[in-house]
Amino acid sequence: MPDSPIAVAHHNPELQHHFADMEQQRDASSLGMWLFLATEIMFFGGMFCAYLIYRLWYFPEFAAASNSLDITLGTVNTAVLICSSLTVVLAVHAAQIGKRQAQVIYLALTLVLGLAFLGIKAVEWTSKFKEHHIPGASFHFEGEVPGHPGQPVDQQHAQIFFSLYFAMTGMHALHMIIGVGIFSYLLYYAWRGRYTPEYHTPLENSGLYWHFVDIVWIYLFPLLYLIDRKK
């Protein structure tokens, strides 16, 4: 689709009938996305609230259970997600300056990084499964209270940590999966050349979503992986 760089706003075929002009449409979508992210903050907030309270109650068990998580994979995953945030930024940037090919490349990279994150997460979960760290009937956690060698931790309190761990990372992964879906869609339309300097709102808003999911992980990482690591 050959884009004329000086397309006049109200002639844009992407303008929906009930908006006066492209700017109104863009402002509305962007505000809508931010409001949605506000609801997401509260959605994760409920789990953060539960986490906060049990962490205060059962600190030794939380520390012990946290130490059983794989810190290398956790750190790598954080880096992977940060890189994917950069590629999203670059994709939006490419759309802003009207470079279709760069858009496609960065979107594809984002997808790869997103899938890499999910892959690493799956590896972590699998090992948790093998270690019987999945809450439920076969839950078993052998660990000592950090700083108190020989003191076994309370099984049930450790189980609460893992319940929250799986609930929070699971919900985060679900958001990642949705994000991967959205970005596949974007990739297709970017390849078709739909996003132009005048109209790339979907790209921008999906970018906001992706960054938000990244931010959630930025908090999950220290809260879940880095409790009382000092030996």
Partner: protein, 94 residues
């Protein structure tokens, strides 16, 4: 259009800073700072989050104050949830 194009340099700088901070937060976790450990981890996470929100998500450049209001009020209400719940838990005689 009121859109602001962030220069590539800024974006890459933020990305590098985020990676460095990730390394720092993992490293610091192994140093015994007492209760400061948690605080340092959260401060670093907040710095990272702020960078993402302000630069990657363009809030710093938003011409419209509304987006800032939305972000701040969401955080405010989250703090209400956490704070007022703690008002109960921290004063229970258990």
């Amino acid at each position: 259009m009121s859109e602001h194009v962030v220069p590539l340099k800024t974006n890459v700088a933020v990305w590098l800073a985020l990676l460095v901070l990730t390394g720092v937060t993992t490293g610091v976790a192994f140093i015994d700072l007492g209760p400061l450990n948690t605080i340092v981890a959260l401060v670093i996470a907040t710095c990272k989050a702020l960078m993402v929100v302000l630069i990657f998500m363009h809030v710093k450049y938003a011409s419209d104050k509304l987006v800032k209001v939305v972000v701040i009020s969401a955080i405010f209400f989250l703090m209400l949830l956490l704070g007022l719940s703690l008002a109960d838990y921290s004063t229970r005689l258990l």
